[in-house]
């Protein structure tokens, strides 16, 4: 039976853009986290007018709406609130305009991250944020999560690459936040919208910054007998005034899993390897490679492999980016964490991560953005094993706590969503959180745009807003 909500949406959109069949709706219950919800209906927006119409209907009925890109988020940010309208922007996937002289482009939110860089490659430019999911994640999702990626070390995460946003605000009004001009009047509303996890409205067009491709690049793989030496080298390099384009670390279990998967000649007998990429003009790249060699030798580096050509470079990066496929050979399930610690605390926090996993009798692989201290411990397990989910839960919770205790933060790039919502008090006082809630209320006084994410529920709301059973931190 068609509900009044669905009937109204079908009046405002083409009927085929509004789907409420159980089979279709069920496809939109989850993102890439382990959490799920029950939306009432899924709408496929094709234009800003479609998005506005959906948001207006949401306001008419007092029903929440949840913007959704590709659904690759890992923190439950796109998991639909019960009874909500999912607004899929995946059909809004046009590159609207490209200004290759001033290196910016207007794109719709459903454009896939890697597609954008491929489409503009002939202009000698690229979109810098490169999450591991870049083949499938959307620019709109990158905006919502302020996404990062291996190459964000030197050039910054998504916020640094967004000039402006056309948005539909939660009351249905359409406006421009920021824009092509460098210093728009007033508050940096562009800046606060990026990373707001769909709670401040829906981005319908995005002005992105494009980065000049580098004339020269060197990709190095360095291995170490001791994880701490590799971690320490990261700090040494930065303190020396070198900011590589990327500094990634893989530990031994990860190296072994990946090597079995792709046969890249990775150093499987070593405790850890660093994948370092420096880019720029030739003399600068050469001198940085030389300096990194010197610094590495003082940290007992094993072998240093410098990719001889693009094919070898691609193979080394394939090793880094295949980690998640490779671990399926070890155990059927994994839980990926995302915390950040100050770079100089990496050795001790890594040691704590190993200790925590050992104590809970869990396997942990580490593959992460060492350059900015962004840890990604991967707990691998078989969910069929009795009691193991509780152990994974407990270990994950401890990892987050030791990271924050070491002067770190809850999330470096996955966001808070539902997953870490109730851990926000680890970082923020009630007063701090109230200020964030104030900002949210200014954008969305009716709490219709992706409610119940990011901010812990105020006391008294009880179980209605608690993180669903099965949610892990």
């Amino acid at each position: 039976m068609t509900t009044p909500l669905v009937a109204r949406l079908r009046e405002r959109l083409r009927p085929d853009q509004v789907r409420d069949g159980a089979a279709e709706v069920n496809l939109y219950r989850r993102d890439a986290s382990n959490l799920s919800g029950h939306p009432a209906v899924v709408c496929f927006a094709e234009t800003v007018d479609d998005v506005r119409a959906i948001v207006q209907v949401a306001n008419e009925f007092g029903v929440p709406f949840v913007p959704r890109g590709s659904g690759t988020g890992l923190a439950g940010g796109a998991v639909p609130t019960s009874g909500s309208i999912v607004i899929s922007t995946s059909k809004m996937n046009r590159i609207v305009s490209v200004d290759h002289v001033n290196r910016l482009a207007w794109v719709e939110p459903g454009v896939l991250n890697l597609d954008l860089s491929k489409q503009i490659a002939h202009l000698g430019v690229h979109f810098a944020p490169d999450p591991s999911s870049q083949q499938t994640c959307s620019i709109g999702g990158n905006v919502a999560n302020n996404s990062g990626g291996p190459h964000c070390l030197a050039d910054g995460v998504t916020s640094a690459h967004i000039h402006g946003l056309e948005v539909v605000l939660p009351d249905g009004s359409v406006t421009l936040l920021g824009g092509e001009e460098p210093e728009p009047a007033g508050y940096d509303l562009r800046g606060v919208f990026v990373g707001s996890e769909g709670m401040f409205g829906v981005a319908t067009k995005v002005c992105v910054k494009l980065m000049q491709n580098s004339p020269d690049v060197a990709t190095m793989l360095l291995d170490f007998g001791d994880v701490a030496d590799g971690a320490q080298l990261v700090s040494d390099i930065i303190a020396d005034g070198i900011v590589p384009a990327a500094v990634e670390m893989m530990d031994q279990l990860c190296l072994q899993a990946v090597e079995e998967f792709i046969h890249a000649g990775l150093p499987v007998d070593q405790a850890a390897a660093l994948l370092i990429e420096v880019v720029g003009l030739p003399a600068s790249v050469a001198s940085q490679v030389e300096r990194i060699r010197e610094l590495a030798s003082e940290r007992h580096v094993g072998t240093i492999r410098v990719a001889a050509d693009d094919a070898e470079r691609a193979l080394l990066w394939k090793g880094r980016k295949s980690a998640f496929g490779a671990i399926a050979r070890i155990k059927p399930n994994y839980y990926l964490h995302d915390t950040v610690v100050p770079r100089h605390r990496l050795p001790e926090v890594l040691a704590q991560v190993y200790e925590i996993a050992a104590r809970h009798e869990l396997l942990v692989l580490n593959v992460f953005h060492a350059g900015d201290g962004n840890l990604h411990p991967l707990l691998v397990y078989d969910a069929r094993e009795p009691g193991i989910s509780e152990r994974v839960h407990a270990a994950g919770d401890e990892i987050v706590r030791v990271s924050v205790a070491a002067g770190g933060v809850l999330s470096g790039e996955h966001g808070i969503g539902l997953e870490k919502r109730d851990l926000m008090p680890l970082m923020f006082s009630e007063i701090d959180l109230a200020a964030q809630a104030d900002l949210r209320r200014a954008f969305d006084p009716q709490r219709l745009s992706n409610p119940d994410k990011v901010l812990p529920s105020p006391a008294g709301c009880g179980d209605i807003h608690s993180v669903p059973a099965g949610a892990w931190v």
Binding site: A283, P342, V454
Partner: protein, 302 residues
């Protein structure tokens, strides 16, 4: 805490004292060194804590009071071969409150990207933390970016953790009579490109061999430094900068950025009603009695 610069050993205590001073009622205004217009007249004036708490070179971060002079921060960071990408002069807090970038924005990015964490004093007189101490962080909403450029209307900065960057290794200025957009295409990541309608000034940094090669390719001529910048500041889409008529009032435009240093005041902007309403709601949530820097309208031209 007012008046003399106080070097603090614990910024937490200094922030608490600053909050006490700001209080929770009656109009109040904040000032640093007065280099960006100073406090709102005829309103009780406070000054933010001053002093560097720590520098972590391997993290490329610094923690300091908002009242710390930028010159003091620059000098301390220079000992570690680092600097901050903020417009010079006055205090850290003043530079962030205005939010303007310096002429190296093309290469170094905008001021708003430098703040990792801030403690500010709210209109209710509370110390509030925004952001986090690490170079990468997406925990919660981005209040730091809301504060940068907010001209003290939402809260008064007490202390901040800033991202630093390596000091330039071999910056050199050049000029060229070539089309500035050609230079933007030909040069690899110049730190700055300034154009006065005839001449382009390019600031290059990096390895001497690379600079020499760039100079050769682009046909650049060495010069002592950038041109004098006219007083007023315009902001326009970078694609429109070329439309500034030559022979009109003098200007120096930041190519690839869109900031134009102009001899005439910027034309009045048209502010979208929805944006205005959103600003009003944010101001109301953060400062319901409009006691912080009363009368300052961030949407009006500064």
């Amino acid at each position: 805490m007012t008046g003399d610069s106080v070097t603090v050993s614990s910024l937490d205590a200094a922030a608490d004292a600053f909050a006490e001073e700001v209080g929770d009622a009656e109009p109040v205004t904040v000032t640093g060194l007065g280099s960006r217009g100073g406090p709102v007249p005829a309103v009780r004036t406070v000054t933010a804590p001053s002093g560097i708490d720590w520098i972590q070179p391997a993290e490329m971060t610094i923690c300091c009071g908002a009242g710390t002079p930028i010159a003091e921060v620059d000098a301390a960071l220079a000992e570690h071969g680092q600097c901050v990408a903020l417009q010079g002069g006055g205090t850290i807090g003043g530079s962030l409150a205005i939010g303007h970038s310096g002429i190296r924005r093309l290469g170094w990015g905008p001021a708003r990207d430098t703040v990792l964490q801030a403690h500010y004093v709210s209109a209710a007189g509370d110390v509030v933390k925004a952001g986090g101490p690490t170079v990468k962080n997406v925990s919660g909403f981005d209040l730091c970016r809301l504060l940068v450029g907010s001209r003290g209307t939402l809260g008064f900065l007490a202390d901040v953790i800033l991202r630093t960057r390596p000091l330039p290794v071999g910056e050199r200025w050049f000029t060229s009579e070539r089309d500035p957009c050609d230079l933007l295409a030909a040069l690899y990541r110049p730190t700055s490109l300034l154009w006065d309608g005839r001449t382009t000034w390019a600031l290059l940094d990096g390895h001497a061999d690379d600079i020499a090669a760039q100079v050769q390719v682009a046909g650049l001529i060495a010069t002592d430094g950038p041109p004098d910048l006219p007083l007023h500041r315009w902001s326009m889409p970078p694609s429109e900068v070329r439309s500034l008529a030559t022979g009109s009032a003098p200007f120096v435009a930041e190519i690839g950025v869109g900031v134009v240093h102009h001899s005439e005041p910027a034309p009045a902007r048209v502010v979208d009603a929805t944006v205005r309403s959103l600003h009003d709601r944010i101001k109301h949530e953060f400062d319901p009695t409009a006691r912080l820097n009363p009368g300052v309208d961030v949407l009006a031209d500064s």
